[in-house]
Symmetry: C2
Subunit: 313 residues, 2 copies
């Protein structure tokens, strides 16, 4: 079967278990892989992308390199992994300018620096178009899988919800983001949250969200729960950009590239989670709860599954 | 400046220090990067390549996936890092068959398994051609940089010297490798040597050799020594394939893709190194010595610098 008929998620389901260890700290197909070394889990993650698929209007090589480290770090942090370092695999056309390569690596180094981790080199290759793979490794005392039980509470960490949807829409519509600096900043420098680590040991599970919130919540429901959204974060600038609440909710649900985390909290941990997040300066939004059943619902309305598939764009 | 004018090695020299930590266990630009975690170094390496650039006649997706993990593992092992796991970043055309992806990952998993390490997942992306980046991480009690002093001895580890040169030549000449099974095996399954780890603590330095032995030795000479080759390994099958000693020596010096290690041994460690290698079943060839000065010489003749440059093929 051809990949465009199979689809990306079906392919990943087949690939993920191949060679994956049975006693690993995280199951195959989770946001990152890992091994136990003594009492500690060491996590490894790669994330690859093509330059032209992620470079929104106004983003240059620096921002694309920054985005690359952010994408990989987001997966590691959602698993409670403290990043130890990153490395870059670059494909560059021989006709490209040196400044492009330097910009990519400088942006990646800046994102790594803000996450308290170094850049540990990489590899360059000729390619027909500019493409990057960012590898990152991390250590985790309490590695956190994708996991959920009926009765758990649902939180959204971070404050980029809807802002990336807005930035992507602005890109395709040619709209100027100057009046919306927080949207622009969220799109150009989507730094994942070290503050998530303050919640280690308190959560049932968590998922990196980067293919759109709705898609992430559908993946959450596949763990065997019904996702009942009661509220979604609607920031004033996203509302102003969208022009209506309905349009703003679309941006929140079907954006993508947020590099934020969806958190599953046992009800008895609610207060502790909220207190620690506040201490750590981690924005946290209580979005709903999980119930028996399946599917994703927002105020009783079914949320359609629309996400990004690399092989069926 | 364009990359094809700058060249790959000059580019890497500019990129390697960006964001690299000052107190790292290995210097920027070494075969792998790393950080200290307690008493131990954790190493990270990525290596990327295009399928069509490495798939010799007779190699399928399985062999190309195997080769990918081998390339990354070779760098980690040359630094005395015991591989902990690998992850794959894949670029695949949407029109490609599922079997291609499965073959690549199965081959990668098999190489990882033979190195005692798991495959820890990865990431898929659409791409115009098939390309891979393999990330690997490792732990090292005594991380070993590229390092050399005049008076040190030079050893070649492994037994693929000349065999890869032969396989690459056979590919371009359309020659059948059936009469040369060890050459075929070396090209299709170039497994790096876990036995190198038995030498931890005894070596002055080591270099992964994958762009051709001559190029590796030139990089060694750039550490501030003159490389004096006294002998090179000439295996009977490589001699038979080449047809003459002169042609076989060409294959040894200007092959590439061996994924073997060049070892620098302090003279007082010579016996211990040879004994431990023998115990560990690691093939070791005494190739010469290092002296004051610069350049690479084989029996007093200068060895030209010819290696592979991705941006100036």
């Amino acid at each position: 079967m051809r990949l465009k008929d199979l689809g990306e998620r079906a392919l990943l389901k087949k690939l993920a278990p191949l060679g994956y260890p049975v006693d690993a700290p995280l199951p195959p197909g989770d946001d990152a892989g890992g091994v136990w070394v003594g009492e500690k889990a060491l996590l490894l993650k790669v994330d690859g992308f093509r330059y032209r698929e992620v470079a929104l209007r106004g983003m240059g090589p620096f921002e694309v390199g920054f985005r690359g480290v952010a994408a990989t770090a987001s997966d590691l942090l959602a698993k409670m992994g403290r990043p130890l370092g990153f490395a870059l695999g670059l494909f560059l056309p021989p006709e490209a300018e040196e400044a492009l390569a330097l910009g990519l690596v400088r942006g990646a180094a800046e994102a790594a620096r803000r996450l308290g981790a170094p850049l540990l080199g990489g590899d360059t290759n000729a390619g027909e178009e500019v493409a990057l793979v960012v590898a990152g490794f991390a250590e985790a005392q309490s590695p956190l899988p994708r996991r959920a039980l009926p009765g758990d509470l649902l939180y959204l960490a971070g404050d980029r919800w809807g802002r990336l949807g807005a930035a992507i829409l602005a890109h395709y519509q040619g709209r100027d983001l100057t009046p919306f600096p927080a949207i622009r900043e969220a799109a150009h420098y989507p730094l994942p949250r070290l503050g998530l680590l303050a919640l280690a040991g308190l959560l049932r599970g968590s998922l990196d969200s980067s293919d759109g919130l709705a898609e992430t919540l559908w993946q959450l429901s596949e763990l065997g729960v019904r996702v009942e959204l009661e509220a979604l974060p609607l920031y004033p600038d996203v509302l102003a950009f969208a022009g209506s609440e309905a349009k703003a909710l679309e941006l929140v649900l079907f954006g993508g590239e947020e590099f934020e985390a969806v958190l599953v909290v046992p009800p008895e941990k609610r207060e502790a989670v909220e207190a620690r997040a506040k201490e750590a300066g981690l924005p946290l939004f209580r979005a709903g709860r999980l119930a028996e059943g399946e599917g994703v619902y927002f105020r009783e309305q079914a949320v359609p599954r629309r996400g990004y598939d690399h092989f069926r764009p």
